[in-house]
Symmetry: D3
C-alpha cells in the first residue's frame, strides 16, 4: 500500500455518496423532467467536485467546447439531475453541436429505443465488444450499466473479462458469439452465423439490432481509444 | 499469359445501362406510398431491367420497408437526381425512419461537413479501413467515391488493395497509418500516435475527424458484413 | 497468499460477513478428511453463507479432495483468519497435496518473497498478463489485490481493461510492456527488450522477477481457463 | 452523398490511350537486341508518352535488364501482339534469363496448362490468395484476368475484396476456402480439408492443382511485395 | 529431472563423454574453479570453424550463483551421474535456492510423478507447447526427452515442427489439440474442449494433468525466452 | 506414387538402411543400386517398438507416377548417386514431367545458381521461412541442408526453432528478419525494409535473391502442407 491516495479519496467520496442511489442509467434520463435553465457547461463545472487526475482531461485533444444548443443544454441538465454527472463521452463530443446531436440521437435510438433486445442485452453486447477491443472508456461506462440493469456485479465482470466465463442462456450466448465474431473478424460473417441467431430465437430485426449495437461500439471504442477518452470516475464504484 | 479480352466487352455493357435507372429495391421505398400488399417488387420489375443477382436482396435480413418520412423521401429523390440511384445502404436502413435519419445525419456530417480533411481524404480513410475489414459493400461504394473525387482510378485501387502501395505524401500516409492501426488494434493507440499526426501537420480537430471517420467505417463495415449488404452494381463501373 | 492489508480490512468486512460459511467446494474437501483434528476448516463452515452460483463448483473437473496435510491445513486456517476465506485456487489444487504445496511454495516466493519489485508491482504484472490471456479467475482475484495494495480502485480497473490507459511512471510502464510482450509473443523477446528494462532502472535480478511473475501467470491463467476455475465471489467487491 | 462524377472521365482516358503502346520499361528489354550502353530508360522516354508515375520503375530494385534470349524475345513479342503490352512481372524478371524462363515456364504450365480446373478457376484462386496477402501487383493483374475470363466485372471485385461475398457454387467455394486457409495457416491443413475438396467433386489431381496455384501466388505475392512490383496501369481499366 | 534412458545411452555416448565435465556456467556454481577451456571443444575446433559457445552464458542476466543447499547439491550430483550433465535450467535457477527448489519440486511432480499420462505423453505436451511458443531452450531439452522416451527420433521432430504432421492415435492427438489451443488462445477453452478429452478416454484427473503440464511449459517457455536461456549443447545430439 | 513401402516397417534402423536403398516410388524409376546398410542405428532398432512408416506414402494424394523424361531420369540417378536417395519432393512432382522439370529448374537456379548469397544463407532462409509456416517437409529437408553446409548442427536447430536465438552476424540477421517478415506479413514490406538490407551490405540483386528464396519456400511450404508431403526419413539423422 505504498500509495497514498488521499486526493482520490476525496474525489471518490461524492461519487460514493451519489452511487448510494442506484440510477437506471440513461433510461432515467429519458423520463425527461426538464429542469429549468442554467448556463450549461459552466454551471456544471461550478457544481462538480474537482476532477480526479484519471478523467482529466476528458480527451487528449485540445478542442474548445462549443456553446451547447438548447436541446443539448437540456439533455446535459437531465443527465446531471438523473445521473449526478454528465457522461464524459458527451463532454468529449461537445466541441461541435452537430456531432454531439447526431451521436446522442444514434446512441439513444440504439440503446434505449424500441427493440426485441432488452436494454441489458444491448449493454452486454456493448461490453463484450469493448472487451474484445480493450476499450477503457466503454468497458468502464457500460460495465457499470450492465451491473445496474442486471443488478449483478458479477455479470458486469464477466462481460468485461471474458463473456465465455458467464453462465448465459443459449440466446444470450449466441448473441454475444455473433457480436464478438463480428468485432474480431467481420469479413467471416455469413448466412450460417445469422442462421445460428435465428435458431436461438432472434428475429431478423433482432439480428439487425445486434449488428447495429456491435457496430456502434466498434465505432465508439475507436473514437475513445483514438482520443484517450477518460470515463467519469464515478462509474467505477457504481452498482458494485 | 496472353489472353484476348474481347469477350468481356459485352458483359460490361448491361451494367452501365442498368445503372441509369433506380434499382427495384429502392423503388419500393422511394414510393413511400404505402401500397399495402400491392406486391411492390413485382410492380417494379415490370418497369425495370431484371435486377442483377449481386445486389438483390439488398440485405440478407427480411425487414419490410417503412414509409419514408418527408425528409427522407426528399433525400432519396435527391440521390436519384444527382447520382442516378439511391445507395443501397440507405435502402437497407429504410425499414426504420429513426435509424435511417440518424445514420444519414451522422454520415453527412462526417463525410461532407466542414473539416480540415478534404472529402477525398475522408473517402481514402473509408476505403483503407474497409480494406482492413474486407468489407465488400464499403469497398465498392467508397472505392468509387475515391475514384470520383480524385479523378484517379489508380488511387481507388490502391486504397482497396493495400494503401501502402500508393505513393502518398507524408500527410496522407500518416493519416492512413493512424486510421488502419486504429482499426486493427485500437487498444494500442497512444499519445505517440497522435503526435505523429501532429507532426504531419494535422490539428487536434483533424485528429478527431480522422478518428471519427475511421470509427464510423468500423461501424458501417460491421453492419454491412453482418447483414450481407450488397452495393449497387453501378458503383463497380463508376469513374474507371 | 495471505497479505496483511490493514486499510482494506474495512472494505472487506461486509464481505467477510457474507462469506461466513465455507464454499461448497471447500467443504467437500474438508469432508474428505475423516480426521478428528480437522477442526479448523469445520469451524469455517459454520460461519459461511450459501455460495452464489458463480463459484460453484470451483472447477469443472470432478476431483475428490485429498486430506489436507498439516502444513496445508494450517495454511488454509491462516487464509481463513486473515482473508476471511480460502482462495479458490487453493481449493482447486487441494485434490493432491504435492501439487498444492508446490503451487503454494512457488506462489508465495514469487508474489510475497524478497524482490526488487514491490508486491503491488508484482500484482500489476499478474493482472496485465491475465488481461492479455482474458483469464476470469486471475483477473478477479488479482484485480482485487491491485486495488488493495494500491488503495486505488482505478489502478485495478486499468490493469484489467488495458494497462496502456493507466498513467504509469516509466518504470512501471516498461515493466508491463515487457510482461505483456512476453505473454503475447515470447519468441520475439531479445536483448533490446532487456536493455529497455535496464534503462528504466531494473537490475538483472528484477528482470528475472518480472519474467518469473509473468511466466507464472501464463501458467496459472491456463490452468484456470482449462478447468473453468471460478474465483471466490467475495473478490468482486473488495477494495472498490 | 450525391456527387457528380463528371470530372473523372478525363482522368481515365490517358490510361487507356497509353495502354496501346508498350511501356518504357519493357521497351528496353523488348529491344532485347543489345542496345549496348544506350542508356535505355532515356532512349525510351524519347519515343513514348511519359510514364505514369504508378508503374515506373517496375520494381524498387536497380537491376539492369539482361539481353533477352531468343525464346523470351519471341515471348515478349507475343505478349505485345496479343495483349498490347508485356506484363510487368516479366519485365521485372528480365534481368536474368534463367530466372525469367523458369518463371514463365512454371507460370504457363500452372495457369494455362492442362488441368481439371478451368483457367478462370485458377485465376480466382490467384486473386483470393493475393487478397489474403494484400498484394497490389497480383490483385491488379489477376483481378483483370478474372474479369476477362468470366466476363463479370463483379466476380473480379468479389475475389479482390472478399471472396466470401461472391455467390459461388459449392465447388468454387470449397476451392477458395482451401486456397485461402492454405495461404493464411498452411500448417493447419489436414486430411479433413482434402476430403472436403473431394466431396465437392475435385480429384486428387485437382487438389494438387489448387495447391500448386495457391502456392505459386504465395510466392509471387511475396516477390512482388518485396520488390514493390508495379502492375501495368492498363490492367486497371480492362474488362470493367 | 534425471531419467534413466538406457536405450539412448549408446546413441548419446560420444556426447556424454564430452559432457562428462561440468559446463562452465555450472562449474562456477559447483566449485568456482576456473579451468581453462575444456578439451572437447578444442578437438572440434580443429575440424571446423570455431564453434561459438552456444550455451554460455546460460542466461543473459548476470545473476551470481548462490551456494547450493544440501538437497540441491545432491540433486545436481545425481543429474551429473545419471545424465552426465546438469540441465542448464537448473543452473539458471541456482542463483536462489528457494526458486530452484520450488521449480524442481513442481517440475518433478508434474513430469515424473504419478499420472494417467505416460512420461512420454507429458514430454510430447511440453514440446508441442514449446513449439507454439517457439522456445529454443524447451524445444531442445524436451525434444531430446521425446526422442529418448519414445525411441523415435521422428516423433521428436514432429513435436518440434508441427505436431499435426505426426501420425498419432486419437488419444494423443486430442491431448495435443487441447494443449496447443490452451497455449494459443486460453480464453476460448470451454466445456466442449474438456468433453472432447473425455471422449478420447481421459479422466478428469488426466485433464488436470494435461492442463498443468501445458501451463507449466507456458511458464517455462517465457522464463527461458525472457532470459535467453541456452540449452546444454549435448541435447542436440541425444537419441538421434 | 506407389503406396507400398515395405522397407519402412522396421523402426529406425531401416531409416538408415532405407536411405541406402531407393524408396518405393523411386525404385520404379531407378535401377536400384543397393548400398550396404550403415551400422550405428542398428543396435537401437533391436530394442525399440516398430516405428510407423513416416514417409509413405510420399503425399496424401493418389497421383500415379509418370514415365521420367530422360533429363529427369538422369537427374534422379544423380540424386541417388550423390545423396544416396531421391528427395521426396521430386518423387511427389514426378506424376507430371512438366511440373517436375519446371520445379527442378527453378529450385536449382535459386538454391544452387549464382548469387551474392552463399548456399548456406539460402538454406537458412529456407528453414526460417519454413519455421514460420511450420512446414514439416521443408524443415526436415532444409534443416539437414543447413547442418551440412554449415557443419553446425546447432545452426540447423536455431533456424528450425527460432532464428532469433541464433547468434548471427548483422548481415544474416537482417536477411532473416526480412525473409520472415515477408513471410508473415508481406503487405507491410516497404522501402525501409529494403534499406535495412542495403545497410547490412546487400546489393539490390541480393535483395531479389532473398525475396525469391523466401517466396519460393512460401510456395513449397504450401504445396507440402496441402499434400501432406513426407520428407525422406534419412534427413533426420544427417549431419547431427
Amino acid at each position: 500500500m505504498p500509495k497514498s491516495s488521499k486526493t482520490s479519496k476525496a474525489a471518490v467520496k461524492p461519487v460514493v455518496a451519489k452511487s448510494a442511489k442506484p440510477q437506471p442509467a440513461l433510461r432515467a434520463i429519458k423520463g425527461g423532467m426538464a429542469k429549468p435553465a442554467a448556463a450549461p457547461a459552466k454551471a456544471m463545472s461550478q457544481k462538480l467536485a474537482p476532477v480526479p487526475a484519471d478523467d482529466a482531461p476528458v480527451i487528449a485533444l485540445n478542442l474548445p467546447p462549443a456553446k451547447l444548443s438548447p436541446a443539448m443544454a437540456a439533455y446535459f441538465r437531465k443527465c446531471q439531475d438523473k445521473l449526478g454527472f454528465v457522461p464524459n463521452v458527451l463532454v468529449a463530443y461537445a466541441f461541435d453541436m452537430v456531432k454531439l446531436e447526431t451521436f446522442v440521437a444514434m446512441y439513444n435510438d440504439l440503446m434505449l429505443g424500441d427493440s426485441g433486445l432488452s436494454k441489458l442485452e444491448r449493454e452486454m453486447i456493448a461490453v463484450a465488444v469493448s472487451s474484445q477491443n480493450r476499450c477503457y472508456y466503454c468497458l468502464t461506462a457500460h460495465g457499470a450499466a450492465v451491473r445496474q440493469y442486471s443488478g449483478s456485479p458479477l455479470l458486469g465482470e464477466h462481460m468485461m473479462m471474458n463473456y465465455r466465463a458467464a453462465r448465459l442462456n443459449k440466446r444470450q450466448r449466441a448473441m454475444l458469439d455473433f457480436a464478438v465474431k463480428l468485432t474480431a473478424q467481420p469479413w467471416t460473417i455469413e448466412e450460417g452465423d445469422r442462421e445460428r441467431l435465428r435458431r436461438a430465437g432472434f428475429t431478423d430485426r433482432d439480428i439487425w439490432d445486434i449488428s447495429a449495437v456491435a457496430g456502434f461500439f466498434n465505432m465508439s471504442n475507436r473514437v475513445a481509444s483514438a482520443t484517450d477518452m477518460r470515463p467519469n470516475t464515478v462509474y467505477h464504484s457504481q452498482a458494485r
